[in-house]
């Protein structure tokens, strides 16, 4: 029962943040002379015909899949207090190499796809593993090294693309790798849509959606149910307590980076296997950075990240109809930005309230059956300077004023 209440509380903060963000965005829109009601109505308008509506849903889902994977990759590291900014470089490296390998072999369908997936995960894991090894052996901050490795990855991916893996004809304005043969494509889920009685849209719903769901569940189980996940989360909550409990911090850093990287390796695959079939200069970039926002928004929980990814994808899709309705598409950017900001703030406030409730609840008598009302949210926490964890992610702060 208390678990239910906690879940409710956990969801309340981001939900409230989204509402606040919408209100702020509406105010901004009104200030720049855009009618917010019309903007919101355009955003939720998926079209008139069933085909248009299903297409819109497919567009949102197709966008959400890579965003979800990116958020997941970031969150895995976040949960143990590592800030993997290198997801960007990891997936770019993974995708170019996987595209190259996928194009160079010919295997029966499922095996071919599997090979590409394994290669992508492996490459990204190795790339992320470098960060872990540097941190463990040389004490290099993962933030610094993963940013630096991003640059190297971009350059290296570019070299591979324009050099050994180049498949496009010389002079073509878009350089791509050789196209992966059809056996290495991931079948779309449009058949499934048909089976559900929905219109068959012109767009292909990425079959990789299923892989993303499986990975999401796997990560959720790994974090919540396994010994390894416990060690990982314990390290994130308190590195010192975790090592005192027997967690090998160094091995943990490397393993976590490997897992985070392996998930990052999947980010490019929905596009690669579902529509592009080759890696090229136009391959979607920046997903690794968006993943940070998604992870933040989803509070590093797989389910939350899924919701956040769909929300972002929904907002992204809206930018086109908004422009057609002569509303600046920057409205979408404003909403996305304010949502992330509002969620970060709401998380921090919720955490402080929860902590204050907890602390004061124990001050006299144990049965702290709080009536749900919160004590003055604006007031200062017990002792000032301890709370500065801007990411609000791992929620690691030193105890404020030990319970006296």
């Amino acid at each position: 029962m208390s678990a239910l209440r906690r879940t409710g509380q956990a969801l309340l903060a981001p939900a409230l943040a989204v509402v606040i963000a919408l209100v702020i965005s509406a105010a901004v829109m009104a200030a720049i002379g855009v009618d917010p009601a019309r903007a919101f109505s355009v955003m939720v308008d998926f079209g008139d015909t069933p085909s248009q509506q299903v297409t819109a849903i497919v567009v949102v889902l197709n966008r959400a899949v890579p965003l979800f994977l990116a958020g997941l990759a970031v969150a895995v590291a976040f949960r143990m207090g590592l800030f993997n900014i290198g997801v960007e470089g990891q997936y770019r490296m993974a995708t170019v190499v996987a595209a190259g390998v996928g194009a160079s072999v010919s295997l029966p369908g499922p095996l071919h796809v599997l090979l590409i997936i394994v290669v992508a995960m492996g490459v990204a894991a190795i790339w992320a593993g470098i960060v872990g090894v540097l941190k463990v052996t040389r004490g290099v901050s993962e933030v610094i090294s993963s940013i630096m490795l991003n640059f190297i990855a971009l350059g290296l991916a570019s070299f591979l693309l324009t050099g050994p893996l180049r498949g496009s004809e010389p002079g073509a304005s878009i350089v791509t790798t050789t196209e992966i043969p059809e056996s290495g494509w991931f079948p779309s889920l449009n058949g499934l849509l048909g089976a559900l009685g929905l219109a068959n849209p012109p767009r292909q719903l990425y079959g990789f959606l299923l892989v993303a769901v499986v990975v999401g569940v796997a990560v959720a189980v790994l974090l919540k149910r396994t010994r390894f996940g416990f060690d990982l989360r314990a390290t994130g909550l308190s590195a010192s307590a975790a090592s005192a409990s027997g967690v090998d911090a160094k091995r943990m850093v490397i393993t976590t980076m490997l897992i985070s990287g392996a998930v990052a390796g999947l980010i490019g695959l929905p596009d690669l296997l579902g529509s592009d079939h080759s890696y090229g200069t136009q391959f979607t970039s920046g997903l690794g950075f968006l993943g940070i926002a998604i992870a933040l928004l989803g509070r590093n929980s797989p389910l939350g990240i899924a919701v956040a990814a769909v929300l972002f994808a929904f907002l992204d899709r809206a930018s086109v109809p908004l422009q057609i309705a002569s509303i600046p598409s920057s409205v979408v950017t404003i909403i996305q930005g304010t949502i992330v900001l509002a969620v970060v703030i709401a998380n921090e406030i919720a955490r402080r309230i929860a902590r204050r409730q907890a602390e004061s609840g124990s001050a006299v008598a144990p049965p702290a059956a709080g009536d749900g009302s919160s004590p003055e949210p604006g007031s200062t926490p017990p002792t000032g300077p301890a709370l500065t964890n801007a990411t609000g992610s791992a929620g690691r702060t030193e105890p404020t004023g030990s319970a006296q």
Binding site: V18, F40, Q282, G286
Partner: protein, 348 residues
């Protein structure tokens, strides 16, 4: 609660939609004397969108001119931040009944085919990418950028006092490499011993190089420090950094695509823009819309703008290269006549 928000927005949607008839004719169509009978033009920009003082603006100018002549309306649209929704832009424009749909930038090259096949009754055009073998209703609007850049190289080599010039490319893509090839060839045609420093801001696949003036400035500064006195900025929005470096070093620069002497908007920078290698996207777009209106548009083909059609060339604003106009014209004629073949890819 998200549902609640959606519900509220949704209830307003009906009312709003009722009053919000076809969305065309807005988005800054310039109010040009179109009308409801002319074409409903869909214009999908490259990253950067309107206001880049270069490529995208030039395309818009072409559309505006076409509306002036033929009437009609334009709907502009820009991709999202990572440009992952390019296909969606084109689909939505076609779906909303815009025709023709013009995609600005080669980046649309890998998605336009699929979309065009889904909307066979809509005419598509793509700037800087080929329409051949893509779809029957796609026309490529290509530019012999290497030829224009050749003239830029001629001007640079003629004007250089140090025998050392530079080329700053935005992103190391085949398109920009064609600029490089032409520039180097032109410079060497005038002075075989000339030193041409070549550098790109970002590697292929990283498009930040088109929009990073700070790095543009660093790269160009390096070239000026290395002895160059004229640097050609084929780097989109990063070019401004090259101009700043030139101004700081008391050296000169060459602009690209549009007449940047006119568009840069800063007298201090105007003074260093010796000339610009023009790429008349506006002319090509205007001409394309003309053929669409008179029904002569041909899909599955390319329209190449080169020196012979004056689709590329040099600008003379500011009068910095008026004195060498005869030299320029001489090389122009040689290229048009086929006496000089300008390479499309860098030799090394």
């Amino acid at each position: 609660m998200k549902l609640a928000a959606l519900a509220i927005a949704g209830s307003l949607a009906l009312a709003a939609c009722a009053s919000d008839e076809p969305a065309g004719g807005s988005g800054g169509s310039g109010g040009s004397g179109g009308g409801e009978d002319g074409p409903k033009i869909g214009l999908a920009y490259d990253t950067g969108g309107r206001g880049d003082k270069s490529f995208n603006d030039s395309a818009y100018a072409g559309v505006e001119a076409a509306i002036e002549t033929n009437g009609g309306t334009v709907q502009e649209i820009s991709p999202n931040s990572d440009a992952s929704d390019r296909a969606d832009l084109l689909t939505q424009l076609a779906d909303q009944g815009f025709n023709p749909v013009i995609a600005v930038g080669f980046a649309y090259g890998d998605v336009i085919g699929d979309v065009a096949q889904q909307y066979p009754d809509t005419s598509f055009a793509i700037v800087d990418s080929s329409g051949v073998d893509v779809a029957d209703n796609v026309t490529g609007l290509l530019f012999a950028a290497n030829e224009g850049s050749f003239l830029g190289g001629v001007a640079a080599a003629t004007k250089s006092e140090t025998g050392n010039v530079g080329f700053v490319g935005g992103v190391e893509t085949p398109l920009i490499q064609a600029f490089e090839a032409g520039f180097v060839a032109g410079a060497q045609a005038v002075n075989p011993d000339i030193t041409v420093q070549v550098q790109y801001i970002s590697p292929a696949g990283d498009f930040s190089g088109f929009n990073d003036p700070a790095r543009g400035q660093i790269v160009a500064q390096g070239m000026f420090d290395g002895g160059a006195d004229i640097v050609y900025a084929a780097a989109g929005g990063s070019g401004i950094g090259v101009f700043q470096a030139a101004a700081a070093s008391g050296k000169r620069a060459i602009g690209v695509d549009s007449d940047q002497y006119e568009t840069v908007g800063d007298p201090a920078l105007q003074a260093v823009i010796m000339t610009s290698v023009l790429k008349r996207v506006d002319n090509a777009v205007e001409a394309y819309i003309g053929t669409f209106v008179d029904g002569s548009v041909e899909g599955g083909t390319d329209v190449v703008s080169d020196l012979s059609t004056e689709g590329v060339g040099l600008s003379y604003s500011g009068g910095f290269i008026d004195d060498i106009k005869s030299t320029i014209d001489e090389y122009t004629q040689k290229i048009v006549d086929g006496d000089i073949t300008v390479p499309e890819t860098p030799s090394n």
